[in-house]
Subunit: 410 residues, 2 copies
C-alpha cells in the first residue's frame, strides 16, 4: 500500500527514535490534528491500571472536544510506578502541548513496555519537540512502527466511506502480540477520522465497534494494565455533523469503524506470540449473545484447546469440556459442532460436522485432521437453545509461545 | 510404605487389566466394603457431565446409606456418549452388584479416558466378577495404578486419627495430571474411612475438605466432564457415631479428611503434565475469602505467570496484571508481594519482598531469580483491604505441557 493511502485530512503522524529502547529502534509515536478533535476511548478494566490510563481518563472527562494529539511510547509501560509515574504521564503530555502550542488537557499519553520501571523522562521530554517537528500527513507508517514491542510487524489500516456527499476517512494503528519480559505488551490502538460527529455518538460508536473487535480477540487470555483504544475525530471531511443515532449516516459510521477495528484487532491475533494458526470460533443458539460470548471465549482461552490447534488434532472433546465450564446454559444433548478451513482467508472448504446431539458422528478422522492442520480454521458450535450468537478470533498455543514467554534468556 | 499401611478395616480393593486399555495395563479398579457404607460425593460442575457422573448423582440421591462399592475404569471416559452411554454406566454398576451379591443402587461408577467413545462393555462386564474375585484388604496400590491415565505415578495416601478411644482410618486414591489425546484426563478420587458418622455430616465434611484441597489446585484451568470425589464410611472403627457438627470429634474428622485430601490433591499438581515446578500462591488481605481465591486462582491459571515460572523469571508484573483482572476489589497502591523458596517442601528460604505500595522495591534481581529457579516456590500477595485469605497450588507451563497436549503424534 502506498503511504498516501494512509492519510486523514487534518491529521499528521510521526514515529521517531527517542532513546527509550536501548536498541535504537523507533520508540515514540505522535498523532496530531491542527484543529481540535472530539475524542472517545475505551480503557483496560484491570485494577492495576497504568499511570497513562488514569491520566487519559481525566483528560477525556475534562476536555472531550478539545483534543489535539496522542503521544505513544514503547519500551516502558509506566505501570506500577506509584505517584512518580502519575507525574511523568502528566509531564509528557504537557511537553507535547507546549511543543504543539496547544492548551491544557489537549494531549493523551499511552505507554507500553517494561512494567515497574519509571519512564526515562529525558528521552520523553527531549523527544516531544522532535516528534512534533517530524509530523507529516503521510507519517502513519512510522507511527505504527514506533509503537511495536514484541510485534513482528506494524499494524496499519485505512478505510473510506461517503457521507453527505463527502469522503470520510479512517486510519488506525494498533500493537500487541502477547507479553514478553522485560516488556509487558499491551493492546494499544489509535484511530483517526475526519468525520464530523457529536462526541456522545463518537463514544457510543467506539464502544459498539470495540465490543465487536478488540473484545473478541484472545492470544493468551491476559489483560494488560495499559490496554487503550482511542478514537479522534476532527470534522475536516465537512460532512453534515452526525447527531442522530437512528440515522443511516450513524449506522454507516459504526459499520466502517467496526470494520477497521476488526482489521486492526485481527492483525494483533495474526501476529500473536508464537502463533501458527488463526482460528475463528462461532457459537450460535445460546440463550443470549453474552452467553454465546462466554462459551466462545472459554473455548478460545483453554490451553487444552489451543495446544490441540497447535498439534493439528481434531480433539473436539476439549471444545465441549471448555464450553461446559463457561457458565452458560447448555443442554449437552442439543449440541452440534462443525469445522471448516480457511473461511476467514476467503478459501472456505466444505464444512464437516463432528458432533450432533452431544454425541460424535461417524466422520472421517483423516478429513478432520486435514482441516485442523490448515493455517486458518473455523469452529462452529450450535447450542440450539436461543438466539444468542458470538464470534471470537484466537491463536494456537505453541512451543514458541512458551519459549518467548518463559525461556527468553536463551 | 508397606502395603499393610494402606488398610481400612472392612474395605477391600483391587486393580486388574480388563482389556479396556490396548496396552494391557491395569485399567479397572474396585473398592468395596462388606458392610454397607454411608456415602458423600462432589461432582464436576461442567455442563457436559459424563454418563457416570449423572448415574452416580442418582445413586447418591436414592441410597446414600447403602453403598457397597465403586468401580472405576480408565481408558474410556464414557462422556458425550448419549443414551447408550447412560445405559452402559448403569449396566456396569449392575454387573458389580450382581458379582458382590449386593442390592440395587449400591455401586458407584467412575470413568476416565477417551471422550466421545462408548465403553467396551465386554471388557467391563467380564471384568466386574474378575475384580470382585481379586479384592484384598491390601489391594489399594493396585487400585491406585488401575485408575491412572496420563499420570506418571499412582497417588495413594493414608491417615489415622483416634476418636472415642478407637483408631479411625482413612485411605484415599486419586488420579489426574491434565489432559492428553486420546485421553481426556479427569480428576477422580475415592477416600474410604471406617469412621462412624451420620450421612449429612459425611457430606458436609467432604464439601469442606474438597473446598480446601481439590478446589485449590490448577494444572491448566480446565475442568473435566468426569471430575468426582467420593467418600465412603462403613463405621467399622466402632467409634461413637459422629452426629454433632459442633463436637470435637467432627472437627477432628474434618481436619484429618482435609489433610488426606490435600495430600491427594497436591500429588495431582506435582504430577501435572510437563510440570517442573510446584508453586504455592497465597493471597491475604482481600475483602473476602472468595475474592482472595479469585485473585490467587487468576494468578495460578495465567499462561504468562506460568511461563514465567517455567523460565525461572521473577516477572512480578504478570502477577499484578493477573490479579487486576480477577474481578476482586484491589487498591493497587496498597499491594505488596513477597516470595520465598521451598516452604512446602519444608526447606523454607528467607522471604524476599519485591513490591510495596504497588511499586517495585530496590531488591536484588539476582536473588529473585535464584528463588524463582527453585523447584518449590511460594508467592504471597498482600492486598491490605480486609480479612480474606486463600491459598492455591499450581505448576508451571512448560514445553512438555505443549508437547504432551499438542504434539502427541511424534
Amino acid at each position: 500500500m502506498n503511504p498516501t493511502d494512509h492519510v486523514v485530512p487534518g491529521f499528521e503522524a510521526a514515529g521517531i527514535a527517542a532513546g527509550i529502547k536501548k536498541s535504537g529502534a523507533l520508540d515514540l509515536a505522535l498523532i496530531a490534528s491542527r484543529t481540535p478533535c472530539r475524542a472517545a476511548a475505551t480503557f483496560t478494566k484491570n485494577a492495576f491500571s497504568a499511570a497513562p490510563v488514569m491520566y487519559d481518563k481525566q483528560v477525556l472527562a475534562i476536555n472531550p472536544e478539545g483534543i489535539h494529539a496522542v503521544i505513544i511510547n514503547s519500551g516502558c509501560a509506566n505501570a506500577c510506578t506509584g505517584a512518580p509515574g502519575d507525574a511523568n504521564a502528566r509531564r509528557t503530555a504537557e511537553a507535547v502541548e507546549q511543543a504543539l502550542g496547544a492548551g491544557d488537557h489537549a494531549v493523551f499519553v499511552m505507554s507500553t513496555g517494561v512494567i515497574g520501571v519509571q519512564l526515562p523522562m529525558d528521552a520523553l521530554l527531549g523527544g516531544a519537540p522532535t516528534a512534533v517537528a517530524a509530523l507529516r500527513a503521510d507519517g502513519w507508517s512510522d507511527a505504527a512502527q514506533a509503537i511495536m514491542t514484541t510485534d513482528t510487524r506494524p499494524k496499519l489500516f485505512s478505510r473510506t466511506v461517503e457521507m453527505g456527499g463527502r469522503a470520510v476517512h479512517f486510519t488506525g494503528i494498533s500493537k500487541g502480540a502477547g507479553m514478553i519480559h522485560p516488556n509487558m505488551a499491551t493492546m494499544l490502538s489509535t484511530i483517526a477520522t475526519d468525520a464530523a460527529i457529536s462526541q456522545p455518538l463518537l463514544q457510543r460508536a467506539l464502544s459498539t465497534a470495540v465490543n465487536q473487535s478488540y473484545n473478541r480477540i484472545s492470544v493468551d487470555g491476559d489483560t494488560s494494565t495499559n490496554d487503550t483504544v482511542l478514537l479522534l475525530a476532527n470534522g475536516a471531511a465537512g460532512n453534515p455533523e452526525i447527531t442522530d443515532p437512528a440515522s443511516g449516516e450513524y449506522a454507516r459510521f459504526v459499520e466502517t469503524l467496526t470494520a477497521i477495528s476488526i482489521d486492526l484487532a485481527q492483525a494483533i491475533v495474526r501476529d500473536g506470540e508464537g502463533a501458527t494458526k488463526f482460528v475463528t470460533i462461532t457459537v450460535n443458539g445460546a440463550q443470549s449473545d453474552e452467553e454465546a460470548h462466554a462459551v466462545a471465549n472459554t473455548i478460545a482461552t483453554s490451553p487444552l484447546v489451543k495446544t490441540a490447534f497447535f498439534g493439528g488434532d481434531a480433539n473436539w472433546g476439549r471444545f465441549v469440556a471448555a464450553a461446559g465450564r463457561s457458565g452458560a446454559t447448555i443442554d449437552q444433548r442439543r449440541c452440534s459442532i462443525y469445522i471448516c478451513g480457511g473461511a476467514n482467508a476467503g478459501e472456505r472448504t466444505p464444512e464437516l460436522q463432528l458432533v450432533a446431539g452431544g454425541a460424535p458422528l461417524d466422520y472421517s478422522e483423516a478429513r478432520a485432521t486435514e482441516l485442523f492442520q490448515l493455517p486458518e480454521l473455523d469452529v462452529r458450535m450450535e447450542l440450539a437453545l436461543g438466539p444468542g450468537s458470538a464470534t471470537v478470533w484466537t491463536t494456537d498455543l505453541s512451543y514458541d509461545y512458551v519459549k518467548i514467554n518463559g525461556d527468553y534468556r536463551t
